[in-house]
Symmetry: C2
Subunit: 339 residues, 2 copies
DNA sequence: AAACACGGCGAAAACGGTTTCGTGTTGATA
DNA sequence: TATCAACACGAAACCGTTTTCGCCGTGTTT
């Protein structure tokens, strides 16, 4: 077990000073040809690599970015992480992933753990508990310490920082409009409670489209699930009672469950009833019939967030100017609607 | 923007030495009551938190663990990460995630990036390219440097380190046996090329079960996909030609595609043809019919891997003893087979 | 020959902690 | 009163870098 070699080791071995070694390895003009070559050769031979931790301490830069998200077993979030990881890696950054598991406390603890020097900045999506509670002091604290934060998807207006979201309202609007244009009359929405910023926006888009149409709004056509957890019973009862001919769902799972249920009842998709979901994940692609969805472009979102964060981290300027990037959703047409 | 406060700041402010502050904050007996209280109060007031980087440098321990996996947009891997993250977090560790994207080079680069002090140990699953190439020098190098490595799922026997896998052979064996017991005669296998350690093991289990049965082995009932990428055409042709009455697939996607195809042909699942897949992901649960799978218990696997790694990291002893933990797969019965 | 420039290198501080080993003061003991 | 332990604290080394500054010797200039 040959342990890592340090500058000091090289210096001792070659009988020069540590500073000389350091400079030689950075190809400094200050050091003579011979010495430089000797040191560089030696370093290469013993595969010297500078210690990241020491450099971090010196530079006060870790080249790590912290990602705090509610859940990772969720297609959308994994695509975002992938986007973040790819972009960050290309710029020499590593990604530390922390899971809040929808818990406010975990979110706080994770942030505190990372905020003490482990990372240069945060990319986060708020836990449902945090959004429900409306307590964002942990975010404010880190921003006050000068640690940049980029919020994505589940964001809040109460914290001043960069943000990147998709236009959820527009996505829901377009989807609902699609239904209307196809002559659907009883258009339902299956969503979650309003405290989730995204659900709220989607509901808004749905309502807007209906309001603009001759159909008008029927609040009873909206099913609000109390949590992200599946409750098949609630969906079944709702679909049985309301007999919609089109259903917009705020995620894939609600949609797939709904489809399965109406199929069992003997209804034909998309003729008798159409479905559109949110999130372009595996489920949508491989569902039967395949599910039309409002794609959220998670990977793109991750990239954007990472870019915004790293740009801010690396900018010397202390501009206190924040931007919110709004990505356009796209409707991915599949077999759960007529086309 | 109030920047982080350091020991030095406290020392200056309270006109004591840095060492005194440090000791006081660790509640050392060495420091007098009054001084301690004064310092602790001050630290609390200004919300002092020690700098992780400095501590890492001193202790030569980062409390970070590096996870290098081929892909994150993959249900199995995300469950493993979740297991790792939960366990590691409970023990005060953070998780740095790096994606190799099935590329050998990226795997190497990522490991090198992290091996220079950023992490205390690795948890990895090999990229397909690495397994195909059979080059494990990057792994050997880090282990030689004394950095512990735990391999999971896609492992190799060529590197001496801790490992955790599920018994893929057993899983495939049990699934195949299930088919045989249910009277299926033409049992097919859809897998990937053999260089993936898991595919190999699963094929072995499939063959073993058939060999032990009166049915015997028919190599032509095995479809080897050249990559993990979906090729619906290949699956269709195969199913059309071979007309199996049971299909074992090494992942969910192959299975769901197969099901969709035979359903279009008018076959009934599970009466005419049964399906079993690997990986208990969302697809299986929400497929129509729901898919019976060999569950891999990713979260458990992640936990085990994290436990093994952290135990090794924290054990002073330099025992060079490695273990391979084999988790039992379980068959999750759903509607794609008779029951 | 004195002055100076400059190339080549080392000493030391700094990043922010921990920890060992003093050291000065106090009070008790011989 | 001299000795000594206990107490409370500080100095300094150390982790592995980077970087500023100073120094020495050589060669050139006047």
């Amino acid at each position: 077990m040959k342990s890592k070699i340090t500058l000091k080791d090289i210096a001792r071995e070659l009988e020069v000073s540590i500073s000389t070694v350091s400079k030689a390895l950075k190809n400094s003009e200050e050091i003579g040809r011979d010495t430089k070559e000797k040191i560089q050769a030696f370093a290469k031979l013993y595969n010297y690599k500078p210690n990241n931790i020491a450099i971090s301490l010196k530079n006060k830069r870790t080249k790590n970015i912290g990602v705090v998200i509610p859940d990772i077993v969720h297609h959308f979030f994994t695509t975002v992480i992938r986007g973040i990881e790819k972009y960050a890696n290309a710029r020499g950054y590593n990604v530390i992933v922390c899971l809040s598991e929808e818990s406010f406390d975990k979110e706080v603890i994770n942030m505190e753990m990372l905020a003490n020097g482990s990372i240069d900045g945060f990319i986060m999506s708020l836990s449902s508990e945090t959004q429900e509670k409306g307590d964002y002091n942990h975010l404010k604290e880190v921003t006050e310490q000068g640690i940049p934060v980029v919020l994505f998807d589940r964001i809040t207006q109460e914290v001043e920082c960069d943000k990147v979201v998709i236009d959820d309202e527009l996505g829901a609007y377009q989807a609902t409009k699609k239904f209307i244009d196809q002559g659907k009359k009883r258009i339902a929405l299956i969503t979650t409670d309003d405290y989730l910023s995204v659900s709220k926006a989607r509901t808004k888009g749905y309502l807007k489209a209906l309001k603009e149409s001759p159909l008008g709004i029927d609040e009873s056509m909206i099913l609000k699930m109390p949590s992200m957890e599946m409750d098949e019973g609630a969906i079944k009862t709702f679909l049985d009672n309301k007999e919609p001919d089109a259903v917009l769902c705020v995620n894939e799972i609600f949609a797939v469950c709904g489809m399965r249920f109406v199929q069992k009842k003997g209804l034909k998709i998309p003729e008798d009833i159409s479905f559109i979901g949110f999130t372009d994940g595996v489920l949508s692609k491989y569902a039967n019939p395949s599910l039309t969805v409002v794609a959220q472009h998670g990977e793109k979102m991750g990239e954007e967030a990472a870019k915004m964060l790293i740009d801010k981290v690396e900018s010397e300027a202390e501009e206190e100017t924040y931007q919110t990037k709004i990505l356009e959703p796209t409707l991915v047409i599949r077999d759960s609607i007529a086309h």
